[in-house]
Point group: C2
Chain length 133, copies 2
DNA sequence: ATAATCATTGACGTTTACGTAAACGAGGAC
DNA sequence: GTCCTCGTTTACGTAAACGTCAATGATTAT
């Protein structure tokens, strides 16, 4: 445990550019140690990067993700922050449930249209077959 | 049926600005008729706006949404387009399933952290109560 | 020792998705 | 008749999330 990673390690593992990782540090999502000028990433950084990328896939802006990270850190100590963190979590939950609903609808639509397409293609194939016959 | 809508009608209904709707027209997502210079939106436009906004909530770029609309239109006529449409649908499906998985994970995390928070708050409340007692 | 690879910072560029302001016309309300 | 409200176009502005050099330095491979 207590593994360390170079910027390239993480970039490879998560299929992002090193620029992205540096950008995330600039934005306060990651806070790697330094050996001289060189960034040294911990497991904590790795986890945060994973969380950030999951958020990104769902379209969450980096500053919201950063806020959640910050609140999570603060929440350990201060109590007011705990409530605030909780509130943000519930907002996030609401967004996610809206998204889940959106996804359900779109997947149904896709299944429907996909079926339509395949039937059309199949019937066209029949016509082609008849021409050939 | 065959209802018509002003730009403001749609803006109100979907809680977006008129600027957004004009932008979507510029980007080829909507194609309202005109009475003189004034846009007149049909049910088709209304549906497309709804679809576009659903896509937006899931972080899809406008040009992808436009492509799907275009392919859907073309697919009725040409057969090659049908296959292409089908392919895009499957790609979209894959993305959506990734997102669905992401959402499931995040909702679990939120439920976990939310529980943690509430327990901490409750125990703090106890301490406060003991102080008061 | 020289090339290849990895790292750094700095800074300007780009795309997306609109916001925002300017300047204007058409139709009702009072 | 003038003030709202709604509509239009043109066009510059902006925030986010990086991309893309450029210039430089430390390690490693051969």
């Amino acid at each position: 445990m207590s593994a360390v990673y170079s910027i390239r390690d993480l970039a490879r593992e998560f299929a992002v550019t090193t620029r992205t990782i540096r950008h995330y540090e600039e934005q306060g999502l990651l806070s790697p140690k330094r050996e001289g000028a060189v960034r040294v990433f911990s497991n904590r950084d790795r986890v945060r990067l994973k969380l950030a990328l999951r958020g990104k896939r769902l379209g969450f802006p980096l500053n919201e993700i950063r806020e959640l990270f910050q609140l999570y850190d603060l929440a350990k100590d201060e109590k007011g922050q705990l409530m605030e963190f909780l509130a943000k979590l519930e907002k996030r939950r609401a967004t996610l449930e809206q998204q889940r609903e959106d996804i359900a609808v779109m997947l149904n639509e896709i299944t429907f249209f996909s079926g339509q397409c395949q039937r059309l293609i199949a019937s066209n194939a029949n016509k082609e077959g008849q021409k050939a016959a």
